[in-house]
C-alpha cells in the first residue's frame, strides 16, 4: 500500500480581502480562511490514488494553533490522518522555514512513498515549498505535474509536466515529491459522512518544542499594498472623429506609443 503525504496551507480567503482606497493597505481584520486551492488538488490526487491503488494519506500543515479548523477540512477531503505543526509564532513564514518544519514533521512520520504538494499557494504563490522540501528530504522532485500515474510494483511514478511550451513526461523513482497543477483533477466536495468522519480521525499535534526552531527569516516584508486598476471612464462614439480622440487618449496615457 502506498504511503502518501500531502502538504497544505491554510490561507486567507482572497474574496474577503479589502483594500483601503486611500492608502491601498490591505484590510485583513475580518478575513476567512480556507485550504489553498492547489493544495486541494494535491489532497484530491492522494484520494484518487487511494481509490485506485489503496494508500494511506497523511495531511501535514504548518500553522498557528488558531488554524485548528483546517484539520477537519483536510480530513474531510480524504486524508486519514492530519499532522498539525503549530505554534503561535508560525505566521508569515518564508518558504525555507515552512519547508524545514514540514521536513522535520515528515521525518517523524516514518517511511513514505510520495509527497504531494500544490504548485504554489493561493496567497503568496512562491512555488518554492515543494522543491525545497524535496531537497531537505533528499528525494527527487517533479513540478508542474498535471497527470500522475503510479506504476504498481515498481515504486515509480510517471508524471506529465506541463511546461510553457511543451509537455514533458518523466519517470520518477519513489520516494519522491510531486507538485501538482489545478488541471490534474477536480477536487470533490466533501460528503456529509466524510465531514462527520473527519472529527473522528487522528491528529498528530506537533508543537515547536518537539522540532528544531525554524531558521531566522532572510527576507523582511516592508509593506504589502493592493494593486489598483484606475479607470478613466471615458466614452467614445464610433465616428472617425471619435476614434481619433480615442487614439489620442490612449497615446496620452502611454498605453500605446
Amino acid at each position: 500500500m502506498l504511503k502518501v503525504i500531502t502538504c497544505f496551507k491554510w490561507v486567507i480567503d482572497e474574496a474577503d480581502v479589502k483594500v483601503d482606497a486611500s492608502s491601498r493597505r490591505l484590510i485583513l481584520d475580518r478575513v476567512g480562511y480556507k485550504i489553498s486551492l492547489y493544495d486541494r488538488n494535491a489532497i484530491e490526487e492522494a484520494a484518487l490514488l487511494q481509490e485506485k491503488h489503496g494508500a494511506s494519506i497523511v495531511a501535514v500543515t504548518v500553522a498557528p494553533p488558531t488554524a485548528k479548523q483546517c484539520l477537519k477540512d483536510a480530513l474531510s477531503r480524504g486524508a486519514d490522518k492530519a499532522c498539525f505543526v503549530n505554534d503561535p509564532s508560525l505566521v508569515d513564514l518564508e518558504p525555507t522555514q515552512t519547508a524545514a518544519l514540514l521536513a522535520a514533521a515528515i521525518k517523524g512520520q516514518g517511511d513514505f512513498d510520495l509527497i504531494l504538494c500544490g504548485e504554489g499557494s493561493s496567497d503568496l504563490y512562491t512555488q518554492q515549498v515543494g522543491p525545497i522540501l524535496a531537497e531537505k528530504l533528499g528525494i527527487p522532485c517533479g513540478t508542474y505535474v498535471n497527470k500522475l500515474t503510479v506504476i504498481e510494483g515498481e515504486k515509480r511514478v510517471i508524471a506529465e509536466r506541463k511546461l510553457d511550451d511543451c509537455v514533458e513526461i518523466v519517470s520518477i523513482q519513489l520516494p519522491a515529491l510531486v507538485t501538482v497543477l489545478p488541471d490534474i483533477n477536480t477536487p470533490r466536495i466533501p460528503t456529509l459522512k466524510q465531514v462527520l468522519a473527519a472529527g473522528k480521525k487522528p491528529v498528530d499535534n506537533i508543537t515547536l518544542d518537539k522540532l528544531e526552531s525554524p531558521s531566522e527569516p532572510g527576507l523582511e516584508t516592508t509593506s504589502i499594498l493592493g494593486a489598483t486598476m484606475e479607470r478613466r471612464r471615458l466614452k467614445f462614439g464610433a465616428e472617425a472623429e471619435n476614434i481619433r480622440a480615442a487614439v489620442g487618449a490612449l497615446l496620452k496615457e502611454g498605453v500605446i506609443t
Binding site: 479548523q69 477540512d73 466536495i189 466533501p190 460528503t191 456529509l192 473527519a198
Partner: protein, 378 residues
C-alpha cells in the same frame, strides 16, 4: 451557551455552498422557468449524503443532527428554493413519519431508498375542501388483508416524481380527525395516479399535482402507525417540517439580502452608487436584522428538536418569522433593484415569487399564531 455553529456544521455549510455554486445556481433559472425537475442534481444530493441527514446510517441516512439538515436546506434554498424543498420534503415530510411511526420493516423498505436518493417521497394530506385539517374525503376501507383507498388529494408536492406516498385517509369517517389513518402507498400501486401538474407562481421546480386514488389496494402492513393515528402523525410531522420551511424561507431572504447588497453597490444614480443613500441603507439594515432574527429562531427550534425538548411553539415562531421575512424582504430586494428586479432571469424576481409559498404551505401565519397562542394560554 455557544451561539456558533460547530466546526462540522461550518464545514457542511461550506460544502453545500460550494456545491450550489457548481451545480445548483447554473440550473436554478431553468428549473424555475421551464419548469423542470433537477433529477441530475437529486442524484448528486444523494451522493453528498444530504437527502437523509438526520436519520441513522442503518437506514441510509448520515446520522447527523437536525440542525445540520436545517443548515443544508437553508444553503440550498439560498441558491434555488425548489432544490432546497426537495431535501426538506424528502427528509422531513416523508422521512420523518416513516422513521418515527414506521415499523422496522417499513423503515428498511421505504426510508432507506429515500435517504439514498433511489426514490423520492410525497406527503398526500391536503384535500380540495380541507387544507389545514384534512377531514377525510379520501377513505380507506379494510377488506381482508388489504385496505382499499378512494379519493383525491390536491397540491401534493413532488407527486409527479415520487416513488412512494404517505396518504392520509379516513378509516372511520364518524370520528372526524380521530378516524384518520396514514398509509404507505408505492407509486406503482394500481389505482394511484398523479393528476395534472399545478402551474404555480413560485417554487415551480417543486413539481406539484393532484393525486387520484381509485380502488387503490394496498396490503395491511402498509398502514403507518395505528388506525386512527393519522392526525397525530400528520401534526407531529408538520411541526418538524415547519422548522425546515423556516430554513427555506431563511435561505430565500438571505439571498435577497446578498443580491441587494451587491446590486446597490454597483448601481449608480445621481453619480453615486445607490448604497450611499440612507434610504437604501435603511432597507438593507432592516433586511439584515430580520434575516438574523429568523436565523436564530430557526436554529433554536432545530436545537430544541435535537435536544428532545418540546419544539412545537418554537417551530411555529420560526416559521412565522422566517416566512414573513422572506416575503417582506424579497419585496424590498425587488424595490432596491427597481425595474430590472421585475425582469425574468434576475434572481430577485425568482426569489420574490418563491418566497410566498413559505407563508402558506405547512401552515399559514395565522395557523402559526394559533399554535403559539394556544401554547401561551395553556
Amino acid at each position: 451557551m455557544h451561539l456558533e455553529l460547530t466546526e462540522e456544521q461550518q464545514l457542511v455549510r461550506a460544502s453545500v455552498r460550494e456545491f450550489c455554486e457548481k451545480y445548483i445556481e447554473p440550473l436554478a433559472d431553468a428549473v424555475d422557468q421551464e419548469p423542470c425537475f433537477p433529477s441530475e442534481n437529486v442524484k448528486r444530493l444523494a451522493e453528498q449524503d444530504w437527502l437523509g441527514i438526520p436519520y441513522p446510517e442503518e437506514y441510509g441516512g448520515a446520522g447527523a443532527d437536525y440542525l445540520t439538515h436545517i443548515i443544508a436546506v437553508e444553503e440550498l434554498s439560498r441558491a434555488c428554493a425548489a432544490t432546497g424543498s426537495i431535501v426538506e420534503a424528502n427528509a422531513s415530510l416523508v422521512g420523518f413519519p416513516l422513521f418515527k411511526f414506521g415499523t422496522e420493516e417499513q423503515r428498511k423498505k421505504y426510508l432507506t431508498p429515500l435517504c439514498k436518493g433511489e426514490m423520492l417521497g410525497a406527503f398526500a394530506w391536503t384535500e380540495a375542501g380541507a387544507a389545514t385539517v384534512a377531514y377525510g374525503a379520501t377513505t380507506a376501507v379494510s377488506e381482508g388483508n388489504e385496505y382499499v383507498l378512494n379519493g383525491a388529494k390536491t397540491f401534493v408536492l413532488y407527486a409527479p416524481v415520487a416513488g412512494v406516498f404517505i396518504v392520509f385517509a379516513a378509516t372511520d369517517k364518524s370520528k372526524g380527525t380521530e378516524g384518520l389513518s396514514a398509509f404507505i402507498v408505492p407509486a406503482d400501486t394500481p389505482g394511484i395516479k398523479a393528476g395534472e401538474q399545478v402551474k404555480k407562481m413560485g417554487l415551480r421546480g417543486a413539481l406539484t399535482s393532484e393525486l387520484v386514488l381509485k380502488d387503490c389496494r394496498i396490503p395491511k402492513e402498509n398502514l403507518l402507525g395505528q388506525e386512527g393515528q393519522g392526525f397525530t402523525i400528520a401534526t407531529t410531522t408538520l411541526d418538524g417540517c415547519r422548522i425546515g420551511i423556516a430554513a427555506q424561507a431563511l435561505g430565500i431572504a438571505e439571498a435577497a439580502l446578498e443580491e441587494s447588497v451587491r446590486y446597490s453597490k454597483e448601481r449608480v444614480q445621481f453619480d453615486k452608487p445607490i448604497c450611499t443613500f440612507q434610504a437604501i441603507q435603511w432597507m438593507l439594515a432592516n433586511m439584515a436584522i430580520e434575516v438574523e432574527v429568523s436565523r436564530y429562531l430557526t436554529y433554536h427550534a432545530a436545537w430544541c428538536y435535537d435536544q428532545g425538548l418540546p419544539y412545537s411553539k418554537e417551530a411555529a415562531m420560526a416559521k412565522l418569522m422566517a416566512s414573513q421575512t422572506a416575503v417582506r424582504q424579497t419585496d424590498t430586494a425587488v424595490q432596491i433593484h427597481g425595474g430590472i428586479g421585475t425582469v425574468k432571469g434576475q434572481k430577485v424576481e425568482r426569489l420574490y415569487r418563491d418566497a410566498k409559498i413559505t407563508q402558506i404551505y405547512e401552515g399559514t401565519p395565522d395557523v402559526m399564531r394559533m399554535t403559539i397562542a394556544d401554547s401561551l394560554l395553556q
